[in-house]
Symmetry: C2
Subunit: 539 residues, 2 copies
């Protein structure tokens, strides 16, 4: 029996109609370049976005064409977020932390036709442009420096453009945006989000048990708009009508603290390293800036040490919420809100839960598989997490690319090794490729890293699998100590032994100055593995 | 460009998978018949629902077949909510307040094949059954009375059934549920909800700016499950994993107060008359039951007087939230959460806003039309509200039925006369058919009723249009005074004149014992119009 419900599509134009008609007066504050703060309203931004769309159409952009951005978090980047998908084209956010060779590959693979780029990133753009199909470059200026010959000035382009209606309909299954995985191994792969995926994902961010975004919020995404759509916050804020604060390129702890305080930010989101820096600053200079407006600070993108949650909660009365996602999930997958059954548990138990990845957002489904098949949900068994849901990627851009990441019955294989508790809460024990396979058993490198990082002298720790003549692989720890701290490897290994099974304890531990990282700030363990691969065999 | 997002459908089976895997231990407490409270878990209910689905399949129910219910709010009604749509059939909730003739028409029009009925409603069922295509009657017993010959016992049916998987997929655009409009005029019309409509609507109830449903909630729908899906609360609670309390047929203020307190209910929803009764009880016996667990009490289904909001807020510290919906909207359309721009407004201004219908839920769009075309959003102009959105009806069941309720470009004409403020907040000024058209101008009967009901002596007031020799129509007021109160018509008319334009003041006001009502508790103004139609012309 067919229903008689309207088949109104879930699209970014629908979000923008809502933004304009109900929240046009709400504000967007941006740090442009090194300069002062720039304040505007959603209404003004939508008018400018309509001009941007008109200009892009005049430059030959049609439905489905890719428009790339290479920008920090600011209002003009947000205008592209609105204009490009709403005109039926595809917004391709380039990751400015990548190497020129990688960017050349990605822009070519995506088939980008236009690039919108911040003026301070022009040197990076010029290092790969010639190797891409990009025809037109539009420069977002933050200084008086002239735009290079052959390129266009963003404001000039807008001034000359006839506005184009942004609120016409597109198919909800058509492509809205593209983002490439940052991949710690292998080549980057393109993820193509549908309007429906973006709309549903953004809607979810307003759920009380999720980010709980609401009209009364002032939201500051520290997570970059150049990766995984800043965790959906630009569109999520639009749906609920929250104010936005976009911090530009000044992402040091002092600049962030200033913005959080002066703009009375109520919700912000970033990776653990960013919040770690902020915590150190707040600890060193407590009470300098009034941060009482913050109702929640989201952390994700990497495992979060319990000490970070505790540090903000106990010393600065700021609640940190831990969530887990991936580029392939648009990106939100799970969130670690303390469930009712733990409401009266000990503070320890609650912090322990909050450091896990938590339970899935609505309509996201999970399961995990070991070599023996689907694992039981007992909180003990480890398996690779598989997910499905209406905003999960069903494949990668390009015929046959990354097909191994999908199961025969259509679930996405995350590459994360997890345990699942009886309530469907997940805890990531490792990345599949970082697991230590010792004597036929699995050892979680992440568990060992968490244990090490809970030690008061340790700033960061990476544990890798190193080939071993007897056990096939054994764990190996590389540790960065906090400034002005000193300790011995044996002391730290004894500390580890106190918290994990005896046979998990690394056979070696070295001190290093810094852990190599990927463009998005994740540990680059492949570099460590290369450096230390002969440690046990040649020793 | 096609996207590469999974096309996982938004369906009730998806909601039930989530409920079982993450919230199976959460509880459902029901009052069954006159008896004690019955407590169960979602896991147990889903197992029983699988048996109900198996039994229905064995009774010949296939995809698209209609299964009717004639039940109060309780766990076994909820089992039908889960089983019927999840097996691909269509849940048709019959309104037990309707007349037998109307029910006979509705069950025939829908083509119901099976009826699940509460034992205390058997006399009603038996008064129309013979006039319907219903083949099988399943009786939900609350006493030891034997089931009538030719009918089946619900528990017996379940005991004999083989369970059927509830979590297989259905098309998201297929029909999940049916509900007939209660229509104060004309015959009832069938609304057919898709799985997608139900899923999106239910998801929306978890938004922080909407009902804000969350896992920590204990939700008690006083609104009937036999009309408009109890405002979506049964499925909304399932998505977030909230506990449910289902009050059965004892809906008097004392019984409700007892349940709200003993079950530590945090969220509840009902029509104004229900909460009015409760308010009177709480005023008469303050502090008898601890109701501090209630975080919000939703009111909708009829205009809400500011005095109700104030009474609960100021005298009992309970926040009432006003929302507006219709059967055709599944039913939620708008909600009146105080926006940030009024956060620092006077208490008066905030109460005034909270008594309006507020702004639309995400993806619901509004506009309004007068005889001169679409009205401006100035908070003054009046027009008929038109809506569209992914959970709005696109038509009624039956070829050509009610086509006039839809515009040429596919919007639903609500029949509500509204003004829209510059921020897209709506205020219902009247029902189109209740407007008083006096000398070519519109007078809002609702505004006059609200003004009258704000008078301390007035319990209820209805204002109708009565034919007038000079002005075409003039307003006429029928008023019910509070117990033991006395006043004169002139006094009340002077009170009205103090709050509305002079030419709006009714030309006559009479005192009556009770205002006639529809089956769902709305004013039955047609009865009043019939009674008083000659007042001005024959006077």
């Amino acid at each position: 029996m067919p229903s008689l419900s309207m088949d109104l599509p879930l699209t970014i134009p629908a979000i923008l109609r809502r933004l304009r008609t109900h929240f046009g007066d709400k504000t967007v504050v941006s740090r442009r370049g090194e300069g002062a703060l720039h304040q505007t309203t959603y209404r003004q931004m939508l008018e400018r976005s309509a001009k941007l769309a008109g200009a892009l159409r005049q430059l030959g952009i049609d439905a489905g064409d890719r428009v790339a951005t290479l920008c920090w978090n600011h209002d003009r980047h947000l205008e592209a977020y609105y204009a490009v998908p709403a005109m039926g084209a595809v917004l391709h956010t380039l990751n400015l932390r990548l190497h020129a060779d990688e960017l050349a590959f990605i822009a070519s693979d995506a088939g980008d036709r236009i690039l919108i780029v911040d003026d301070d990133l022009l040197p990076l753009a010029q290092s790969f442009l010639a190797r891409t199909p990009i025809e037109t470059v539009i420069v977002v200026g933050t200084t008086d420096a002239p735009v290079p010959a052959g390129m266009r000035d963003y404001e000039g382009v807008l001034a000359a453009a006839a506005p184009m209606a942004l609120e016409t309909e597109v198919e909800e299954t058509s492509a809205a945006a593209m983002c490439y995985t940052s991949g710690t191994t292998g080549r980057s792969k393109g993820v193509v989000y549908s309007h429906r995926a973006v709309a549903l994902h953004s809607l979810t961010l307003g759920l009380a048990d999720n980010f709980g975004l609401r009209e009364a919020d002032t939201v500051m995404p520290v997570v970059p708009m150049f990766h995984a759509n800043a965790w959906g916050l630009p569109y999520g804020a639009a749906i609920v009508g929250a104010n936005l604060v976009l911090p530009g390129r000044q992402l040091d702890a002092r600049s962030l603290r200033e913005l959080l305080g002066s703009q009375r930010v109520s919700f912000t989101a970033g990776v653990p390293t960013v919040w770690n820096s902020l915590l150190q600053l707040l600890d060193a200079e407590p009470g300098v800036v009034d941060l009482s407006s913050i109702r929640a600070m989201l952390v994700g993108g990497a495992a979060v040490p319990e000490s970070l949650l505790r540090g903000f909660g106990e010393r600065h009365a700021i609640e940190i919420i831990h969530a887990w996602g991936m580029t392939e999930l648009a990106p939100l997958g799970t969130i670690a809100r303390v469930p009712t059954r733990l409401a009266n548990a000990s503070l320890e138990a609650r912090y322990r839960y909050r450091a896990t990845q938590g339970t899935p957002a609505p309509f996201i489904e999970i399961r995990a598989r070991s070599e023996a098949g689907l694992i039981p949900w007992d909180g003990e068994a480890m398996g690779e997490l598989e997910v499905r849901g209406p905003w999960v990627a069903a494949g990668y851009h390009g015929a046959g690319i990354g097909a191994a990441a999908f199961t025969d019955d259509g679930w996405f294989r995350t590459g994360d090794i997890v345990a699942i508790d009886p309530f469907g809460g997940i805890e990531i024990r490792d990345r599949a490729k970082d697991l230590v396979k010792s004597g036929g058993e699995w050892i979680s490198s992440v568990e060992l890293e968490k244990r090490l990082m809970d030690h008061p002298d340790v700033l960061e720790a990476a544990v890798i699998a190193v080939p071993h003549p007897r056990w096939q692989e054994r764990p190996f720890a590389a540790v960065v100590l906090k400034e002005a701290r000193a300790t011995a490897p044996e002391v730290l290994l004894a500390w580890v032994a106190d918290g994990v099974p005896r046979w998990w304890v690394p056979d070696a531990l070295v001190f290093i100055d810094a852990i190599p990282r990927t463009s998005t700030g994740k540990f680059l363990k492949s570099a460590l593995r290369e450096r230390y691969q002969g440690w046990y065999t040649s020793a």
